[in-house]
């Protein structure tokens, strides 16, 4: 391992599940990811914070395989996945949620989650037998729904769920994949105070079970959950470290936290 990185960024971890190496992304002339190098350790909950338009979602899109980086590499569990499509990365154990809810609207909540289970459980090139009668799949899906507090909403069409419930469904889908790394893009976006407190307690329970990369604007949630925090501004990592170190960093206060913490 290049240990000058370790020294400068303070980021190197013994056994990383994810390594981003000098990642760059341009949209035409717009530089949205500008040399991001980042490691996430097994079991770690790593928060990425930063102002609107900093490039957080773009970063997650590159990690999950929905956007190709302009330059740099992405290493996931020892495999270079930079050129792998999203579905192959998911099969390797990468799950994500979306900032703007992305579920199957005309499927029930249960079937949304059941598809995530189905994806990792045997082949889906099966043309006989009702998929919705597969008890092991339904059981696993119901367990994931229960975990996020949607146990009694399984039969509701996803389109008919409230906004908060849809946020929880996003989470249930992701954890039902039993991933090795969970990418969460603002899981609390648009939820009220109570709902986001509930989601924080859900995430606390998930912590340790999954490695997580959490993008979130809710600073209370971030400082309550994160093992380490990276601050992203203009596509660049401004600072990275423990919550206390980041909170005290004058550059971070000047660039971002100053306004957010008030």
């Amino acid at each position: 391992m290049d240990w000058s990185t370790e020294f400068v960024e303070g980021l190197a971890v013994a056994d990383p599940v994810l390594q981003l190496n000098d990642l760059h992304k341009n949209f035409g002339g717009l530089v949205v990811t500008d040399g991001v190098t980042l490691d996430i350790g097994f079991g770690e909950l790593h928060a990425v914070i930063g102002p609107n338009g900093a490039g957080k979602t773009t970063l997650i899109n590159q990690i999950s395989g929905l956007l190709a980086p302009t330059a740099g590499t992405i290493n996931f569990r020892g495999t270079d996945v930079t050129d792998l499509p999203a579905d192959k990365r998911a099969k390797l154990g990468l799950a994500r949620s979306f900032q703007i809810t992305s579920v199957l609207p005309r499927f029930s909540a249960l079937e949304n989650v059941a598809l995530a289970v189905q994806a990792r459980n045997q082949t889906s090139y099966r043309f006989f037998g009702r998929a919705d009668h597969e008890q092991p799949v339904n059981d696993a899906a119901n367990a994931a729904l229960a975990e996020v507090g949607l146990a009694d909403r399984g039969q509701t069409l996803a389109a008919h769920l409230s906004h908060g419930e849809k946020r929880s469904l996003e989470l249930a889908i992701a954890i039902a994949m039993e991933p090795k790394l969970l990418l969460l893009d603002e899981p609390m976006a648009g939820t009220g105070h109570e709902e986001s407190a509930r989601l924080v307690s859900v995430l606390k329970r998930l912590k340790g079970r999954f490695s997580m990369l959490l993008v979130e604007h809710d600073m209370t949630a971030v400082f309550a959950l994160a093992d380490r925090i990276s601050v992203l501004t203009y596509g660049r990592i401004l600072a990275s470290g423990t919550p206390d170190a980041v909170r005290a960093d004058p550059r971070v206060i000047a660039a971002y936290l100053g306004e957010e913490m008030e």
Partner: protein, 330 residues
């Protein structure tokens, strides 16, 4: 508890007994048509309803890929034409055995679907429509240029397909039931598939392809398999059509034919399967009736179709639901 869980996470249109009553009624009526026809212009009625069922087979395949897969193919008639040409060309070389021509028709449709699907399925929405249309037209022009097989004029099928040398389809009534059996098999096959794991993935991709990819599904490959199934069944429809008309022509592949198939599934109600049968029947029977009244039947038919599609979302079946004050299907 497990029962209610299982039964509810499914396609809304199939939950009620009434939803099952309709397909049963449809197939009962189709089974009884020959008995009724015996009292009237028998061969005319048999011929008309045979045509209805032949197009219903093609419409079912289109409803599968379009209504459940969300892939609006505007080149579906190409599969039908290819299946028909398989019969025509093999027949022109003196082979009428359906154990040969039927698999060839299915396979030809499937291969064409595989090759064109590999290209089409890389595109989305309106581009998909345009490129399937382009491939359909390509097949149309190629068929028209097949000089040894009649070119633009098409070619006559001198003898209906035989089974182990026996001319079992020669009798119109037997042929009618052969087509009905094909329709029944295709209907139940699709019904099974749409509820299966594969069908769920196909429906999921219609809803949100990006989400499906992030779950770990190779959406393109699943859609291509679905497209190949639709192509093979289109080929089956062509096999039946060539035998029904005893004639094969490039016109079977024209974009108008593809458009008609889309209208049929819209007319019957998209994504219901039995709607495809209702739609094919409605389309061909309206065409036949209006055509008997006036030369300018298309002037009436056109606006009528627009009205049904605009005001009866869910097609004719949706209209029935609304008149009865029931919630429409999803």
């Amino acid at each position: 508890m497990t029962q209610t869980l299982a039964a509810s996470s499914v396609l809304p249109s199939q939950q009620t007994d009434r939803a099952n009553a309709l397909p049963v009624a449809i197939f009962l009526i189709l089974a009884l048509v020959p008995f009724g026809a015996a009292f009237g212009p028998e061969s005319y009625v048999l011929g008309l309803f045979t045509r209805v069922m032949v197009f219903a087979v093609a419409a079912l395949a289109l409803d599968f890929i379009c209504g459940y897969g969300g892939l609006v193919s505007f080149g579906h008639a190409a599969f039908v034409g290819i299946g028909a040409y398989a019969v025509g060309i093999i027949g022109a070389h003196g082979v009428t055995e359906m154990l040969v021509s039927l698999p060839v028709a299915l396979l030809a449709g499937a291969i064409f679907a595989y090759l064109t699907g590999t290209v089409c399925l890389r595109t989305k929405s309106v581009y998909f429509i345009m490129i399937t249309l382009a491939f359909g037209q390509m097949a149309y022009f190629i068929a028209g240029s097949l000089a040894p097989y009649g070119g633009d004029d098409g070619l006559t099928v001198r003898l209906r397909s035989t089974l182990l040398g026996f001319p079992i389809l020669q009798n119109d009534r037997t042929f009618y039931y052969f087509v009905l059996l094909s329709l029944l098999v295709v209907y139940f096959a699709f019904r099974t598939i749409v509820y299966s794991r594969f069908g769920r993935v196909l429906r999921g991709a219609r809803e949100n392809a990006t989400r499906m990819a992030t779950l770990g599904f190779d959406v393109f490959s699943f859609q291509r398999v679905g497209y190949v199934i639709a192509g093979a069944v289109g080929g089956l429809s062509g096999f039946l059509l060539a035998n029904a008309t005893e004639f094969v022509s490039p016109a079977y592949m024209s974009w108008q034919r593809s458009g008609e198939l889309i209208i049929m599934i819209l007319l019957g109600g998209l994504g219901t399967l039995h709607g495809a049968i209702v739609g094919a029947a409605a389309y061909l029977l309206i065409e036949e009736t209006l055509g008997g009244i006036t030369e300018q039947w298309k002037l009436i038919f056109g606006p009528l179709l627009v009205l049904i599609v605009l005001f009866a979302r869910g097609g004719l079946l949706g209209l029935v639901d609304r008149i009865r004050g029931r919630p429409g299907r999803g």
